[in-house]
Each structure stands twice: as C-alpha cells, then as structure tokens.
C-alpha cells in the first residue's frame, strides 16, 4: 500500500462558516488523501499541536473573518518552534489581494480565493508533496 498524503484542515478563529472547510476536506479525501478536520474555533496553538500529533504534510486553513493577518503569522511561528518548518501551509477564504504578499512572506505556500476549483487545490498539493514510494 502506498503512503497517503496527510492533510490537516483547520478552522481557526471564532468564525463558524465551515462550508468551505468541509467541502475541501471531502474533495481531498476523494482525491486519495488522508484528511483530518479539526472542527471549529481552533487557536494557532491547537492547530500546531494537532499538526505535530498527526504528522501531517499539509495544513489547510479556512479563514473568512478577516483575522488572517493575526492568525497566520502566529501559526507559522509556532510551527517553526516545533520544528515543523517543512509542512506546507495553504489558506483558503476571503483574503484581500493587498494582504497576499505579506502572508506568503510569512511562509504561507499558497492562497486560494473564492471561485477556486477543488481540482486546482488537489493539483497544487500533488505538485508540492512528493512522497517517497
């Protein structure tokens, strides 16, 4: 059996709009990945710990609330502290174009805006993560 790509889908902050997170979780699972969904209202600390425990290759954050500039840098710092620098972190949601450059500089690999097809996300992850066979 080949090893599957492991993805943590996380919903940080106080927002409860989980439609996107759930659709992505299911689409990645259908594409053959192992998906763990954290559920709602996760702090950066909870997400970083879950990423370590689950030994994931990818973290997908769903943020629609405008809190991305606070949450993303905090999470990236925690991941570095835990030696998880190699994990690929992507963000999906409502992110103004003006914020994208700074988020990428903080270590976010890619930002998926509304209207992105699930296939585009699957393709991006496959291109980033090549597991040893």
């Amino acid at each position: 059996m080949t090893k599957k790509i492991r993805v943590l889908i996380a919903k940080p902050g106080l927002d409860g709009h989980d439609r996107g997170a759930k659709v992505i979780a299911r689409a990645l699972r259908d594409a053959g990945m192992e998906v763990i969904y954290t559920g709602l209202r996760q702090t950066p600390e909870m997400i970083a710990s879950a990423a370590v425990q689950e030994d994931v290759d990818v973290i997908g954050l769903s943020i629609l609330s405008g809190a991305h500039n606070t949450i993303c840098p905090q999470l990236m710092k925690l991941l570095r502290e835990k030696g998880m620098d190699d994990v690929t972190v992507v963000v999906g949601g409502i992110i103004p174009e003006a914020d994208i450059a700074a988020l990428k500089k903080s270590g976010i690999a890619e930002i998926f805006l509304p209207g992105t097809s699930t296939q585009a996300i699957v393709d991006f992850i496959h291109q980033k993560i090549v597991l040893p066979s």
Binding site: L14, D15, G16, K22, V23, G39, G66, A67
Partner: protein, 481 residues
C-alpha cells in the same frame, strides 16, 4: 403586499467600533433607507468582550464590536429608536444585546410598547448552519422562550425572533432544505412556547422569518409562496391558531452572499438585482441587497450605496409593486410552488419522526443533509455542469477593487474604552447583579429582567455571558465532513 406599502429597505451594516457603524447607519438613513440592520463582530456573536484573548484579530472585522451598554449608546447616538425599526443579527447572546437596545430606547424616552424591530435570536439555525453558539440547546431554548415571554408583556410590536433560512442556504442547502428546516425550526419554537404556557395567538404574532434570495429565479419565488402556505397550514392545523397575525408568515430577505464572485465583481450588481427582484415578486416584507465587493471584504460606502439604489430602482422604476403576487396563476410557478411545498413537507415529517428539531440536530440530520448538498453543488461547478460567469466560464483579467480595510486600532480603542468603563462603574453593583443573574439561571424564573438589570449597571457582554456559562456550560458539535 406592496400595492399599498413598499417593503422595508434594510441594509445590514456593521464594522469597526460603535462610532464607525453609527456613522454608516446615519449615512444609509440619509440615502433613503427605511430601517436599520446591525451586523455584530465575531467576539460579540460569541459573547466575548473586545479585550478577551480569543477576540484578538477579530474585533470590528465582521461587524461592529459591542461589549457593553456604553457601546450601544454610541451605536444609536442621534438615531431615534421611537421612529426607526432596527434588526439585530445576534443569536446566542441575543437576550443581552436586546436588553442593551431596550436600555438605550428607555434613555431616549421611547415607549417600549411602541418601538419595533427584530431580534434574530434563532439559535436552532446556529447549530444547523451558522455555528455561532455558546450554550447547549436546552438552556439556549430557555433563553429564547424567555425573550418571547418578555416581549409579549413589554414590547408587543417587536419581533422577538427572525427564524432564519438565510444561513442554512449559505451553508450550501437546497431551496427545499432551506424552506423545510427553517419552518420546522419555527414549529419547534412554537412548541417550546406552548410548553412554557404561552397562548399561541399571544406570542406567534411576534415571530418573523428570514430567507435567502439565491440565483434560481422562479424556484426562489416558488419558495416564498410555499413558505406562506406551509406556515398557514402548520399554525392553523397543528397549533390551532385563529389569528391572521399569527398564521400570516412575514419575512425579510437577503440576496445570496455565496453567489457573489470575487472575479469580475461588478457582475455582482446584476446578480443581486435579479435575486432582489425574485424576493419582491415573492412578496418580501423587508429586503437587504448585497454589495458588489462582498466576496473581498465588508462593503465600502460606494458599494453599499449601489446596493441600496438597486432596491430603490426596483421599487420606484419597474412597476412590479403594482400587483400582489404577480406570478400567481402562472402554470410554471404554481407547479414549482407545489413541488417545493411537497418536498418541504417530506423533510418536516422526517424531522417530526426524529422527535423534533432539537433531537434531529443532536443526531446531525440537517447538518448532514446540508453537507451533502453543498458538496454536490461544488462538484457541479467543478465539472461545469453549473456555470458561474467569470469563475468557470467567460473568465477575463481585471484590476483589483478598492476595498474597506479595518485595522487593529479598533481593538485598541475598544480595549481602552472597556478599561475606562470597568474603572468608572460601581464594581459592587455589577457583582451583585451578576450574582443575582447567576442564581436565577439555576431556577426557572425568566432571565430577561436579571439580564436587563446587569446591563443597566454596565456589566459587560462577556461578564453576563460568563455568568450564564457557569450554569449552562458550553456546546461543542461533532463535526461532520
């Protein structure tokens, strides 16, 4: 509806601190808007003060930050609550925010018996779709029925609830699911009200509804028509209502936020206009039209003005208000109305068989149905079985929009204001009233008077919600993916 009286043009607005939103409210009223609708930020929706650690990064972002009566006084400064009707999109802490609103009305000298407005206060759809809940279902429902009871006695013209399908649809449901879950929620509230000992025609006139206006034009019109039929049947046959004020379904509509595209955003003006027209042809009593930039951020004043103008054009230029139910008798619309009604009753019967809506929610039934429907919708977009202009068809390059930015100075302003408030108010009085509330949560008394007392002493939203958290505990869902 509409021949004699237009719908209320009620644009949902809220951002930053109270003074920022107060300015937007006054601007919208000056532009000819006929009612107010308040969006609160996420900390407020979750019952946290702006200076709570979990509020970091969220203050004033998705709505206005309200942590105490002092903020509420600023929010409605120079807005006469005796004349303007206000809707408040607040659910788990609805009783607390409503108490703040009533306190401001009292200060302004407005008569509670005459003021009107709408409290969203629909906790069931929070568990189903929107997910901004604090307490478990049982104590949450108690709080809702407490507001019904308080409203019957003190504010007979105020809608104590807005039973909402909007968020259910935004979470990805079909039109039939939106209709069925919303109306079954309505029946659940009625049943809990009756169990409290309230008379049906005493509290039901204060129940109002809130639906989405999505893109399938005729299906949406059929949905509104079917909603009125189902509610009438349920109220008269199930609950023995004899008053038209109870069995006539009244509803607010908002155009579908989830149909807006980040790509080619000016196209959103057209989408919104068509959706708004469906709501008007379906007989809505109140309407919010979305702004073109909402797939990017909260709307700028420029975008919010076009959205309001869209309603004004439909109301004053198209002539569609000259006939009530103008599509009644159309073969297609009548058939669709029958189909939607039948589909909704099938769901309602399934939920009855599960033991009612609270029981169905605890078993994840509506949540699972919505998750299935939203995944199906996404697959159809991905496979191009469903086309969205600018997204999966007719794609073109474009320049970025100028959008509204909310920075962290709002959080700092709020923190400073809270610090001042806590220093200036009577700490003993606050403690005494919070303790009285905490004690009352353990008994069966209506909690509204205790909450009102605490609010008047400038206890904060977070402190009041915490006093109830101590007894009620908090709720966590089992996530369905």
């Amino acid at each position: 509806m509409h021949r004699g009286r237009l719908w209320t043009m009620r644009q949902f607005a809220g951002f930053g601190a109270a003074e920022d939103t107060n300015q937007r409210f006054r601007y919208l009223l000056a532009q000819g808007q006929s009612g107010l609708s308040t969006a609160f930020d996420l900390p407020t929706l979750m019952g946290y003060d702006s200076d709570h650690p979990l509020s970091e990064g969220e203050v004033g972002k998705c709505g206005v930050a309200i942590s105490s009566l002092a903020d509420m006084e600023v929010l409605f400064d120079q807005i006469p609550l005796a004349d303007v009707t206000t809707s408040m999109t607040i659910n788990s802490p609805a009783a607390v925010i409503w108490a703040m609103y009533l306190a401001v009305a009292e200060k302004q000298g407005a008569d509670w018996k005459k003021i009107s407005g709408t409290l969203q206060n629909d906790i069931l759809k929070e568990y189903i779709a929107q997910k901004e809940y604090i307490y478990p279902p049982e104590p949450s429902m108690r709080l809702v029925i407490d507001t019904f009871e308080f409203g019957v006695k003190n504010t007979p013209k105020f809608n104590t609830i807005s039973i909402s399908g909007y968020h259910i649809r935004e979470a990805g449901s079909t039109a039939i699911q939106e209709l069925a879950f919303t109306l079954r929620d309505g029946m659940e509230y009625v049943e809990w009200g009756l169990r409290r000992g309230l008379e049906i025609d005493e509290f039901a006139p204060q129940l109002s509804f809130f639906f989405n206006a999505h893109s399938d034009f005729f299906e949406e019109i059929a949905k509104y028509r079917a909603a009125r039929r189902i509610w009438h049947k349920a109220m008269t046959e199930r609950y023995g209502s004899k008053s038209a004020r109870s069995y006539a379904l009244r509803f607010h509509t908002q155009t579908a936020g989830c149909s807006l595209t980040a790509q080619q955003p000016y196209n959103n003006v057209v989408r919104t206009a068509l959706q708004a027209l469906a709501a008007v042809l379906g007989g809505t009593q109140s309407l919010h039209t979305n702004s073109l930039d909402e797939a990017w951020a909260l709307p700028t004043e420029f975008a919010a003005t076009i959205a309001l103008r869209t309603q004004q054009i439909i109301a004053h230029e198209t002539g569609v208000t000259n006939t009530v139910d103008p599509l009644g008798g159309s073969y297609f619309v009548e058939t669709l109305t029958n189909e939607v009604e039948r589909g909704a009753w099938d769901y309602i019967k399934k939920i009855d068989a599960l033991g009612g809506m609270v029981a169905a929610i605890e078993r994840g039934f509506p949540q699972r149905e919505i998750a299935e429907a939203s995944y199906r919708y996404q697959r159809e977009l991905d496979n191009k079985e469903k086309l969205m202009v600018g997204v999966n068809a007719f794609v073109s390059e474009e320049k970025p929009l100028d959008i509204l930015q909310i920075d962290e100075t709002v959080a700092h302003r709020q923190a400073a204001r809270l610090k001042k408030l806590r220093a200036e108010r009577s700490g003993d009085e606050v403690l005494r009233r919070l303790n009285a509330l905490r004690t009352a949560t353990k008994g069966k008394d209506n909690l509204m008077p205790f909450i009102y007392d605490a609010v008047k002493a400038y206890a904060t939203l977070g402190e009041i919600c915490d006093a109830m958290r101590d007894t009620f505990g908090t709720y966590e869902e089992v996530a369905i993916t």
